[in-house]
């Protein structure tokens, strides 16, 4: 037994240096489990099989926040991966850490891999692009909020499911009719701050924060207490008080109710498609996110949520070449098209969208193209390019608290948003101080 063990050790030490010499290892840390985790693993396997110079090693490091923390802790211990997945609200943190990351455009340019910055969809890459137009991280999974409709619930309440729900004015009328028709749960939402404030502001082309939503400076202040946002929240508060909008929690708790057929309308990410299409035992529609006709004549574009891939500093040139190759592989049209079709996430290149359309996917799965159209309808403005705010994970927590105070009737929308601004600004000033 002992001899066998020694033999095995000797054998492995003999063999391993040869393997390491042949292939350069690239570490990739991500936050996906379940079906998404399997899809990521499949992408990595495909890349590894497609060439023999590099080996990408993927590992799951917990949820979004945990993955970011793992990356930060690893950097402090000089054990950082080459590629780290960071959710969109961590973007400002990563951008401010200039010595810790390497911009993607630079890495991909140096690696010699194919890289055309113009191939990426503007509204998607805009979130991760510097004010000079350089792409700092590679958008990986991006989605945008849409309106989900339970057609059966509409019919049960005697409301025409084909009615126009493109404006909040019309949705308000639908909610009245649904409630009158005996519906207990006319409207639920997921990710309230992301949908009803961040996207709301971009969609109506009003600022969420000063300095172009934080894109052009760390000395940004929240502007979420403007008249447009307050008008929306006032309507939502009334709906909440009348039992037309049911609050279920800060994340996507409402999804369980909607998928079970208990609710008529649901504002949720387009990436909810996989779950809803597999679980819902009712006819559902995907509609564009509604807008207020009274605030804007035409909706601007919505912004994304999700994560991007950051390349971390402190590795060898050869390893960066491998990272660049891998990122280039991920951006390729085939990989993107299948990712988009499997997950409901947006394609990051226009070409992948075209390929999906050509394959007849949108016709077979109606509604899956709504998100793409909603994102790409207009050229993004300074208000609809995205958000770049430090400590944003915590600021979202503050916004959630204040929104809860609105739904419960403890505060008026104006009071709550003024307070959110004051508390959020204090965190922005600290972030500015730490990273200035």
């Amino acid at each position: 037994m002992k001899k066998l063990l020694i033999g095995a050790i000797a054998g492995s030490t003999l063999l391993s240096p040869i393997a390491a010499m042949a292939q350069t290892e690239v570490q990739f840390w991500h936050a996906f489990t379940g079906r998404l985790g399997e899809l990521v693993a499949a992408q990595v396997e495909e890349f590894n099989a497609s060439q023999s110079d590099y080996v990408v090693v993927q590992s799951h490091k917990g949820n979004y926040s945990e993955t970011l923390n793992a990356g930060i802790a690893a950097f402090r211990a000089q054990e950082q991966p080459h590629i780290l997945m960071v959710f969109e609200v961590g973007t400002a943190t990563m951008m401010a850490a200039e010595g810790a990351v390497r911009p993607v455009y630079e890495v991909m340019g140096e690696s010699g891999a194919t890289f055309d910055p113009d191939a990426y969809i503007g509204a998607v890459k805009g979130y991760y692009t510097s004010t000079d137009g350089d792409m700092l991280s590679l958008p990986f999974n991006s989605s945008t909020p849409v309106l989900w409709v339970n057609r059966n619930a509409f019919e049960a309440a005697g409301v025409d499911p084909d009615m126009d729900l493109s404006t909040w004015e019309n949705v308000g009328a639908a909610l009245d009719a649904l409630k009158a028709g005996g519906e207990d749960c006319p409207l639920v939402t997921a990710w309230q701050s992301w949908i009803h404030l961040e996207n709301f502001s971009a969609y109506h082309d009003v600022p969420f924060a000063s300095k172009d939503n934080g894109f052009s400076g760390l000395d940004t202040e929240l502007m979420l207490n403007g008249p447009a946002q307050i008008a929306h929240l006032t309507a939502m508060q009334e709906w909440a008080q009348d039992g037309k909008f049911i609050y279920t929690g800060r994340r996507n708790e409402g999804g369980a109710n909607f998928r079970a057929g208990e609710c008529a309308l649901f504002t949720e990410s387009s990436a909810g498609y996989a779950g809803i299409s597999s679980e819902a035992e009712f006819d559902f529609d995907v509609r564009p996110l509604p807008y207020w006709k009274a605030v804007a004549d035409e909706p601007q574009n919505t912004i994304i949520g999700g994560a991007s891939l950051w390349v971390m500093a402190g590795h060898d040139a050869e390893e960066y070449k491998g990272a660049g190759e891998f990122l280039s592989f991920l951006s390729s049209s085939d990989v993107q098209a299948s990712w988009h079709q499997n997950t409901g996430y947006l394609p990051i290149t226009a070409e992948a969208g075209e390929a999906t359309k050509a394959a007849g996917f949108y016709e077979a799965n109606p509604g899956t193209d709504i998100a793409v159209m909603q994102m790409t309808a207009n050229e993004p403005t300074a208000n609809s390019k995205g958000l770049r705010l430090g400590s944003f994970d915590q600021i979202r927590g503050i916004i959630d608290e204040e929104l809860e105070a609105i739904w419960s009737g403890d505060k008026s929308p104006q009071e709550a948003m003024d307070s959110a601004k004051e508390r959020g600004d204090a965190l922005l000033r600290r972030f500015e101080q730490a990273n200035g």
């Binding site: 369980a256 927590g397 809860e404 730490a434």
Partner: protein, 293 residues
């Protein structure tokens, strides 16, 4: 008449206490020192740069009204958790102590919840009280009570207290039960012969005799409520609604690991260190005087 054992020379005693001293130094003093040092800086998350701000972090914290409120929240939470876990445990222990048949089964059943990890306990309670699919909240709804701990701070506090205290009852039960078993039968019998009824005997004799255990549990439970209930709060309320269940330790976590504000987080640990130190002094100085060994 104390018996004293003295060592000849210094080497052996130093060698004997060395492991404890080294462990304390490495795992307690060094991190505590680091926290104190870091609380004077505002570093960036990646440790690339940091600026000295003196007591700036403390100033920032104490001017935050939510942080000041967190002290009150912590006090209410720990008092409730301690009471809710000790009183039922004592009651159950007294009842179990009187059992003649089947006390083994009864005891085992009561100890079970202790094996459930706080985060898991949190999820269990969350499922029962979930505002849309929870069993208990559904029954409450049938009774005409609209349970919504997602928006109602009082209900949220109640839920995290119950979920934190629940598993703890087992632990306290175990200690109380052991303490009750060690109360001499002869004393109780003598009181019974004198005509003292059960509760009179309990408050007059049994309770004073088990005060050392009760005091120990008080200290341990307060420490538990301060530091180990994190998992329950994280899973059930994440500190909400409107920070009504954000206790000091939870805020250290959310500022440090969600907000990546290590300066503020360190300053909070230092404040916590002082608070717990004071609390321990108070407990040993005032409460212990009433303990009979």
């Amino acid at each position: 008449m104390e018996k004293r054992v003295t060592f000849r020379g210094w080497l052996l005693p130093i060698l004997l206490i060395a492991p404890q001293v080294i462990i304390s130094a490495v795992f307690f003093f060094y991190p505590a020192g680091q926290a104190i040092w870091q609380s004077l800086f505002i570093p960036d998350p990646f440790g690339l740069s940091s600026q000295f701000v003196g007591f700036g972090n403390f100033e920032f914290l104490l001017s935050d009204k939510f942080y000041r409120k967190s002290f009150l929240t912590t006090a209410i939470f720990s008092i409730l958790v301690t009471l809710c876990s000790m009183i039922p445990a004592l009651f159950l222990a007294v009842i179990a102590d009187r059992l003649i048949k089947g006390s083994g089964v009864y005891r085992t059943m009561l100890i079970w919840p202790y094996a459930v990890a706080p985060a898991v306990a949190g999820v269990l309670w969350l499922f029962m009280f979930n505002t849309r699919v929870g069993v208990v909240s559904w029954y409450l709804g049938q009774l005409g009570y609209d349970w919504n701990h997602v928006l109602n701070g009082g209900e949220a506090m109640g839920l995290v207290v119950v979920a934190s205290a629940w598993g703890r009852i087992s632990y306290n039960f175990l200690f109380f039960f052991a303490a009750l078993q060690s109360v001499p039968r002869s004393v109780i019998e003598a009181a019974a012969i004198d005509g003292a009824h059960f509760w009179r005997r309990f408050f007059g004799i049994v309770l004073p005799l088990i005060t050392p255990t009760a005091f120990f549990l008080l200290v341990v439970n307060v420490v538990y409520a301060f530091f180990e209930t994190f998992g329950v709060i994280h899973t059930i309320t994440a500190g909400g609604p409107q920070q009504s269940t954000t206790i000091l330790v939870y805020k250290v976590f959310s500022d440090g690991f969600v907000g990546q504000d290590l300066g503020s987080s360190s300053a909070q640990s230092v404040i916590l260190l002082v608070v717990v130190g004071l609390l321990t002094v108070i407990q040993f100085k005032y409460v212990e005087k009433r303990v009979h060994y």
